[in-house]
């Protein structure tokens, strides 16, 4: 990274396995997937495919982490806003930043469909009412207002009194990772001292039906890097990080579990949805991330892969990893079976898991793996593995349009 080091001082996580980093640790230890039957909305697909749905009470989670929401506030928020708020409240709570510090900070949030769960309900009701000759939909204008991706950014900015750069990044499933990477660059170049960065996405009919239309959804749930994998599972969640310049974090005596030490980004320019057949873009993003971290492939102790469990992703990602790191040279796992693919939130949630891996010095299990794919030799982590010397980890996030991002995290010893 250019110039200034970027410290991570707070983590927030909400997803199918629960609403805290501790819930994640418990799920990982018990190898317990959060996938379940869809109950959030009615769907013809509900009985056929599992989803990564969060079943908790988001307003209660936010109240526990920060403060109760008023009824009026709640009415004006989408599910995506609430997911982002809960994760951000956890992260800022852990970081223990003063309001003065927050007021000079900003937020970069990765999203793909954040408010769609609300706006599509308005649209579907309007459409059905029109079929039945009824003019007015029940959902009000609030459902429309929250449709815009920037709504979650505005909600976060207002809640935490942020005065700095605030915007949303929309690069499909790499959005969260790009938002974190761009926020880190902002701090590294001295444009900000503190940034909230992450990603959030809620389940919606559009994504569920969309990935189903592409025949990418598995009835059995994801089995990343398995030879018999049959596809992905759509999920929801949020991951948020508090990023600070290392000087700022040290000066206030913050606990610093890790640095965000590298960020790489590339575009396949190959196909709207399919990755480059040899994983050229994935390779370029990982290489770029290592270069910016000033590390060699041999320095990386663990890769938290994108690993969606689609046929194309896992094959091309495995090829790219093997090309850059060598055969079975670095432990790899995908945590998709715990949460499902949470789209724009995915990269941010994985970032949280990577920092937690460094903090716990553990490698997370690749749940669902039976027989490893044959196309490349990977050291796949089948169950939680102790990693006493773990120093640098890498996280991959790849999105539609061939949009690739990779992040490198480095442990800071207490």
């Amino acid at each position: 990274m250019p110039t200034r080091a970027v410290a991570i001082t707070g983590l927030g996580l909400v997803g199918a396995v629960g609403s805290s980093v501790a819930a994640w640790r418990a799920a990982a230890a018990g190898e317990k997937s959060g996938l379940k039957r869809l109950t959030l909305f009615e769907s013809e697909l509900a009985a056929e495919i599992p989803v990564g749905q969060y079943d908790g009470d988001l307003p209660a989670d936010f109240a526990a982490a920060r403060r109760p929401l008023t009824r009026r506030e709640f009415k004006r928020m989408s599910r995506g806003d609430l997911l982002a708020l809960v994760a951000a409240a956890q992260a800022t709570g852990e970081a223990g930043l003063s309001q003065t510090a927050l007021s000079q900070g900003g937020v970069y949030l990765g999203q793909s469909v954040c408010g769609t769960f609300s706006s599509e309900r308005y649209y579907v009701e309007s459409w059905r009412n029109a079929q039945n000759g009824v003019a007015q939909p029940r959902a009000g204008v609030n459902a429309l207002y929250v449709h815009e991706p920037a709504q979650s950014v505005d909600v976060l900015a207002r809640e935490f009194g942020l005065g700095g750069p605030c915007t949303s990044f929309m690069t499909a499933c790499s959005s969260g990772a790009n938002a974190i990477g761009r926020a880190a660059l902002l701090i590294a170049r001295g444009e900000a001292e503190v940034m909230l960065a992450g990603g959030a996405d809620s389940l919606s009919r559009i994504t569920l039906n969309g990935f189903h239309s592409l025949q990418l959804v598995s009835p059995d749930g994801p089995r990343p890097f398995d030879a018999q994998r049959t596809g992905m599972t759509v999920g929801e969640g949020a991951g948020m990080l508090v990023l600070e310049s290392l000087e700022h974090a040290k000066a206030r005596g913050a606990k610093i579990p890790a640095l965000l030490s590298g960020y790489g980004h590339s575009c396949d320019a190959h196909h709207l949805t399919a990755p480059h057949p040899q994983g050229a873009g994935a390779f370029a993003a990982m290489k770029d991330a290592l270069r910016s971290a000033e590390l060699e492939p041999g320095d990386i102790g663990y890769i938290n892969a994108h690993g969606t469990s689609t046929l194309d992703n896992d094959r091309t990602e495995a090829l790219a990893i093997a090309r850059l790191f060598g055969d079975a040279a670095v432990p790899v796992s995908s945590t998709m079976r715990f949460f499902g693919h949470t789209l724009a939130a995915s990269g941010a949630m994985k970032a949280v898991l990577c920092v937690e891996a460094l903090r716990q010095r553990k490698l997370w299990p690749n749940l669902g793996l039976r027989t490893a794919l044959a196309e490349a030799q990977l050291d796949l982590v089948r169950e939680i593995r102790q990693a006493p010397g773990l120093k640098h980890v890498l996280s991959n996030s790849f999105g539609f349009g061939g949009n690739n991002a990779a992040l490198v995290f480095t442990r800071v010893d207490p």
Partner: protein, 381 residues
């Protein structure tokens, strides 16, 4: 470090390219027309709007790729090709890994998103259209432009309501300053669809009077008149050899609460005190109130009251109209001329009386929901 604007492409209500925009701004062409919008309940509304012209894509974009682009994507991809052409850039000679796309859009591909939802509403949830789904992704424009040009560098899409283009501009400038690319296509665009018009009408934000002659950005009691379009710019680092149309000295995005500080930081980059101020003043009571407050901040920061121009009366008021204002600003600097604003379909020459050709333009944009952005453009010496 600054960046150089070396090319621009525009598809707007004033016409399908930058030449049409330039002619329209100079002559005061009224691009406002009455259009029909079919709402979800089946009834049709006739209302004034600034719908972008259909650009000629033939010869610019491979027909196979073109078939996979909807109207919105075509507008943006054509604008990108136009931008490269005006900069005199041979696409085949671009370094793919050092060329990127940074795009701002508030709503993305709305027509296709709606078509995708319609596909499963009509045929059942097992039968959604895969092509419509993949083309509904918010970042589709940046991906399609990269695919069209074969460029594999920085590829970002930003969304920040009515400051989406400005957000993209800030990120593009940072990416160049970080040395992440040698050339970036930075742009903004949004499309006006019947559904978007219905959203605006339900929020009581759009003018539904079909006899209104055109948007009056200076009259807060009038609801706004929406439009659509796209503009894309070639942005290169300062060290480049290509002739620049303008220089982007600084750009920043933040929150209204810190707008004075942000503005002061950006304005400090101006070499001359004699700068022209443009803003994102459009229509509507709420936006006008936000803009009035922002104008006061601009005057305080600059130390005196200055005239503030907006050209939304020429191309409409929509979420990423900031991209078209940026185009107007680049054209004013490169042509050493000042365009009078339009309101109600006529040029307001009295608002530019006494203003000479600008050498520096400070643009201030106050967004809804407390966002703020600004940038400083100067003419090439």
């Amino acid at each position: 470090m600054s960046a150089r604007v070396t090319g621009l492409g525009v598809v707007s209500a004033l016409g399908p390219d930058a030449a049409a925009l330039l002619a329209g701004l100079r002559q005061g062409a009224n691009a406002c027309a009455v259009h029909e919008f079919k709402y979800l309940d089946g009834h049709t509304v006739r209302a004034p709007a600034y719908m972008a012209a259909t650009p000629e894509a033939k010869g610019l974009i491979d027909p196979k790729k073109l078939r996979r682009m909807d109207r919105f994507c075509r507008m943006c991809a054509v604008a990108a090709r136009q931008a490269l052409a005006t900069a005199g850039i041979d696409v085949a000679r671009l370094d793919p890994a050092r060329t990127g796309v940074v795009f701002g859009t508030a709503f993305g591909a709305m027509t296709t998103t709606q078509a995708f939802v319609d596909s499963w509403l009509k045929q059942g949830e097992r039968h959604g259209s895969p092509l419509n789904f993949m083309n509904s992704v918010h970042g589709i424009v940046a991906s399609q432009i990269a695919l069209d040009l074969g460029v594999t560098g920085v590829n970002l899409t930003l969304s920040q309501r009515d400051l989406s283009f400005e957000a993209a501009l800030v990120s593009a400038l940072h990416a160049l300053e970080n040395g992440e690319a040698d050339l970036l296509l930075v742009g903004g665009g949004d499309e006006l669809t019947p559904l978007m018009h219905e959203f605006g009408a339900r929020m009581r934000q759009v003018n539904l009077n079909p006899v209104t002659p055109g948007l009056d950005p200076f009259l807060p009691t009038h609801p706004t008149m929406p439009g659509d379009g796209a503009a894309v710019f070639v942005l290169e680092p300062d060290r480049g050899q290509r002739k620049a149309m303008a220089r982007l000295e600084a750009a920043a995005i933040g929150r209204t609460a810190a707008s004075a500080k942000t503005l002061a930081r950006v304005a400090a980059r101006a070499n001359s005190g004699d700068l022209l101020v443009t803003t994102n003043r459009g229509g509507g009571r709420t936006a006008a109130r936000l803009r009035d407050n922002a104008d006061k901040t601009v005057d305080v920061v600059l130390g005196r009251a200055r005239p503030k121009l907006t050209h939304r009366g020429a191309f409409g008021d929509f979420a990423s109209a900031g991209a078209l204002q940026f185009a107007a600003n680049v054209l004013m600097l490169s042509g050493r001329e000042v365009f009078a604003p339009m309101s109600r379909g006529r040029l307001r020459n009295e608002l530019v009386a006494g203003l000479g050709p600008p050498q520096t333009i400070l643009h201030d944009a106050a967004g809804i929901s407390g966002s703020h952005a600004c940038y400083l453009l100067t003419s090439e010496p």
